[in-house]
């Protein structure tokens, strides 16, 4: 019971926009990505509401199985089994430094060809001496895109049948003419 509750807490922390930080800066916020993303690219958007210099890191959190690192299956993340796993952060991009000069601006970057898994975005706020003064982190789960036609058809399942609609349209057009 205790284990389940712990796992639940972990899932909530991870999936509900886990922007947690050790001394995060109120002028720096990670706008994108949200807790889940589907597709094969990841958009990072950081909002700065004061002139700040930030350094942005993007990692994929991988699981160590034997000697190899494997991506975490996104469908199993919700099962709360991460607590028992040892996660290793693998850098996805070269960290980028962005110097914001205005009172409102955004840092944006699109990372292409990402595979399904768990990712972590870390934003460090640097002072003039390049010392880290604050850190903001968020985790996101990249899900694979659903199979197109199957998922698409589900959207219209509640619609009335095509034949019925066709008859309705036909009657409408007859009476209109």
């Amino acid at each position: 019971m205790k284990k389940t509750a712990m796992a639940l807490v972990l899932v909530i922390v991870m999936l509900c926009s886990t922007a947690f930080a050790a001394a995060s800066d109120p002028d720096v916020a990670i706008v994108s990505p949200k807790e889940t993303v589907s597709g094969n690219n990841l958009l990072v958007s950081v909002k700065l509401t004061a002139p700040k210099t930030i350094k942005v890191y993007v990692y994929e959190e991988k699981e160590k199985v034997g000697d190899t690192l494997v991506s975490i299956d996104p469908s199993k993340i919700s099962e709360g089994n991460l607590s028992s796993k040892s996660l290793v952060s693998v850098s996805v991009i070269m960290p980028e430094t962005f110097e914001g000069t205005g009172n409102l601006q955004f840092y944006n970057k699109q990372i292409d060809d990402v595979t399904p898994g768990l990712y972590r975005i870390k934003v460090e706020v640097l002072d003039k001496d390049n010392t880290v003064t604050a850190t903001t982190t968020t985790r996101t789960v990249v899900m694979p895109k659903d199979s197109q036609a199957d998922a698409g058809n589900k959207i219209f399942q509640s619609q009335q049948s095509g034949v019925l609609q066709w008859v309705q349209n036909l009657i409408k057009s007859i009476f209109r003419n």
């Binding site: 958009l43 909002k47 601006q105 197109q148 698409g152 058809n153 219209f156 619609q159 066709w166 057009s173």
Partner: protein
């Protein structure tokens, strides 16, 4: 010996008759050609016929948006991949027997289905479906008439046997279910996705709001300032007089001409029934207050009236400079004395880049009951060599789109406030979010600043932000504000 002298006399008589007849004929040509209203040398030596664009050429989607299978978006330029032509081919090739249903769907369903690999043909104005079907040779399909006007046609791989439509005026979404998959659209999407494309994202995703308008994440272009000349730089030329004559025809002799101290020339017929004003900057404005005699026209009929009118009054191209591509930028319903009509705002494109005029537009035509009641013409001439020189340099990175908005949101808000938008007491983040959510289009283009008598005029590469009825311009590389145009006040 008397006979040769007699022959000479006869010859002289014939010569006199021929000369007399030639004189009459020439006088006729010079003074009274009843067909065209005057003698024109071009009628004899011949000139190239005026090219009149077709409605198909001027009606192009404002944006063609592609959503990739792997997520992410791109926006196509008109003409890329022949995307619009392929959509029209698909529509023309529909078999009405195979259409299973035309049904209304919800906004949420439309959004969900477009989240798959999809393409949206988006117009910035509504097109009447029934006229569109007839004019474009599309089969009449039962149920399609319920849509009325439409502004979006879409296709999604999530439902490959369907086409999707949106009526902006009704704010309703529709799905037309077909008997088989539209494979041509699937092929088109695969081709586009396999190509190198510019990445676009929703403003809302980038800034944390709900706005679905797409902007490029980063953009490299080869645009630099281009010198231009107004179409009517010198108002005392015969060309300007010829242009003025086209409005008054036979009654031009009874037209009063006033030259204002600011340099404008005003041609007035009657008690201001018809007035043509050509400003020193070369902008021509014609107003006809005569009561329209025709019946009410639908949009396409009004568009045809406008196209023909422009062709007969200045033409669709300037006499010199490189050719530009006209297109319908904006359409608005208008009414005068209970007579309904349309204001059709035409834009011009230099190669693929649209031309924007501060406080003006290249061509605006008001058509009410088949009569053009107002006509604005503000054309510029760009030399081919100048254009080539300005677009052959190295690519430069533009100012970040989203930071251009972030840096200028208070300026954008001030323009929108001037134009009547109420932001209440919003400030800071809340004001930024409100401004960001009003933006429905962000494009690049060339901007022509309002004429202020400069000796050298240049078109400036610009970001064009469209919100409500206002187009606000920012320098493409520095994001400095450089002017705006209110479409509702043209």
């Amino acid at each position: 010996m008397g006979k040769p002298k007699q022959h000479i006399e006869v010859f002289k008589t014939i010569l006199l008759v021929v000369l007399f007849l030639t004189t009459i004929l020439l006088l006729y040509f010079f003074w009274s050609n009843p067909v065209t209203g005057g003698f024109r040398l071009a009628d004899i030596i011949g000139e190239e016929p005026e090219e009149i664009p077709t409605y198909e050429e001027v009606i192009q989607p404002g944006k063609i948006i592609v959503h990739f299978e792997g997520g992410g978006y791109t926006v196509l330029e008109n003409g890329d991949f022949d995307a619009w032509d392929k959509c029209l081919q698909l529509l023309r090739g529909l078999n009405r027997q195979k259409v299973q249903a035309v049904e209304e769907i919800t906004n949420a369903q439309f959004d969900q289905i477009m989240d798959f690999q999809s393409i949206l043909y988006q117009f910035h104005y509504d097109l009447p479906m029934d006229n569109f079907i007839k004019l474009y040779g599309i089969p009449e399909i039962a149920g399609l008439d319920q849509i009325g006007d439409f502004s979006i046609i879409g296709f999604s791989s999530g439902s490959p046997e369907s086409l999707f439509l949106h009526s902006n005026s009704k704010n309703k979404y529709y799905r037309m279910v077909y008997g088989s998959s539209h494979t041509s659209m699937e092929e088109l999407l695969s081709t586009i996705e396999a190509s190198t494309n510019i990445n676009y994202h929703r403003i809302g995703t980038l800034v944390g709001t709900e706005n679905k308008t797409l902007v490029p994440l980063s953009l490299n272009v080869q645009l630099e300032e281009i010198p231009y000349f107004p179409e009517f730089a010198d108002l005392h030329t015969p060309e300007v007089k010829d242009f003025a004559k086209t409005f008054f025809g036979e009654s031009f002799d009874f037209v009063r001409k006033i030259e204002e101290s600011k340099g404008s020339h005003i041609y007035m017929y009657g008690y201001g029934d018809k007035v043509l004003t050509i400003s020193a900057g070369g902008k021509a404005e014609y107003k006809n207050k005569e009561t329209p005699q025709g019946g009410q026209q639908n949009y396409f009929e009004a568009l045809d009236t406008a196209i023909q009118f422009v062709a007969a009054h200045g033409g669709w191209q300037t006499s010199e400079g490189m050719e530009m591509k006209p297109f319908v930028r904006h359409v608005q319903s208008i009414e005068d004395n209970k007579r309904k009509g349309y204001r059709i705002v035409f834009g011009m494109a230099l190669s693929d880049e649209e031309l924007y005029l501060e406080g003006s537009s290249s061509i605006v035509v008001d058509v009410i009951h088949g009569q053009v009641t107002q006509y604005l013409r503000d054309m510029v001439q760009v030399e081919r060599e100048d254009y080539t020189e300005s677009t052959s340099g190295p690519e430069q990175q533009t100012f970040s789109t989203i930071n251009m908005i972030a840096q200028n949101y208070q300026y954008i808000a001030s323009i929108l406030r001037e134009e009547g938008h109420d932001f209440g007491d919003l400030q800071g983040d809340e004001l930024f979010n409100a401004v960001a959510d009003l933006i429905y289009s962000v494009d690049t283009g060339y901007m022509k600043p309002e004429y202020e008598g400069q000796e050298s005029n240049t078109l400036i590469p610009a970001w064009v932000v469209k919100a409500n009825s206002v187009m606000i311009y920012f320098d493409l590389y520095t994001a400095e504000p450089i002017g705006y145009t209110n479409m509702s006040k043209l």
